[in-house]
Symmetry: C2
Subunit: 152 residues, 2 copies
């Protein structure tokens, strides 16, 4: 077993700041969204659905796109269905599967929440960064994602 290479001070700083920043930021955005009656995961699901051509997806595809495992998708969609934000429809070509579809209430909820949410993302993140920084951030994320065993 080789000696452990501990993190240098500047590496440790960056790593801690990343964790702290992400948690604080997503907590803040979640609280903001709560005013519209949506949680952050709710928002992600609804946003994903509105992006789909016919506003429906298979749970497994949703899992890939959001990076969620199937059980998380299932539990979360079940809760959202109970609140009337989405509904499940049998998939006609595969009797094992379902489609998750946006309901009118779901569409209304995200339309109401989106402007404020996007504005908060701008105010507290995107607009604070230069184009260069955004490009670098994107590159960093890609590098790290590529190095991870992809569960999709």
């Amino acid at each position: 077993m080789a000696e452990t290479r501990w993190l240098a001070e500047h590496e440790l700083q960056a790593w801690r700041n990343l964790n702290l920043m992400y948690n604080q930021l997503s907590g803040f955005l979640a609280r903001e969204l709560a005013g519209s009656g949506l949680s952050y995961p709710d928002y992600l699901v609804l946003a994903l659905l509105t992006d789909q051509p016919d506003q429906r997806v298979r749970p497994s595809e949703m899992g890939c796109l959001l990076g969620w495992e199937k059980s998380r998708v299932s539990h979360h969609v079940a809760r959202m269905e109970r609140r009337g934000l989405v509904e499940r429809e049998r998939c006609p070509t595969d009797q094992r599967g379902w489609f998750i579809a946006l309901t009118d209430a779901g569409r209304a909820a995200i339309s109401a929440a989106a402007p404020e949410h996007v504005s908060a993302v701008r105010r507290h993140a995107v607009d604070l960064l230069t184009d260069d920084e955004i490009a670098t951030l994107d590159r960093i994320c890609r590098k790290i994602l590529d190095g991870l065993p992809h569960n999709d």
Copy 2:
């Protein structure tokens, strides 16, 4: 109410990648840690404690340092105490307060887990980035943190 300024394509990409990256990465690291019987939050608590001069902190200070609210600290420490990883001691100078202190078992647990964890952080994040990228990442995090209402 002004028109909503939606995110431009490159901004949206970076934002989505940040979310995806952070969730995938922290999920991965959590699974890695689970092999040592610790969760990611467990690790953060123990690491924080080993950093303290006398290996104990007040819950409120821990909350500040980790960006956790007091109730989260309380619940989590209670669970860790049940497992013998930390213990609570009455604060002699303030009868309302406590110290959270590292136990021998806690010290042993983090000593066992740290090398593998740090190596995973290196392999999957730090070592993939140039010094420039790390510096930029740190700057980005600071900017965003500064713009957030600080709950500390």
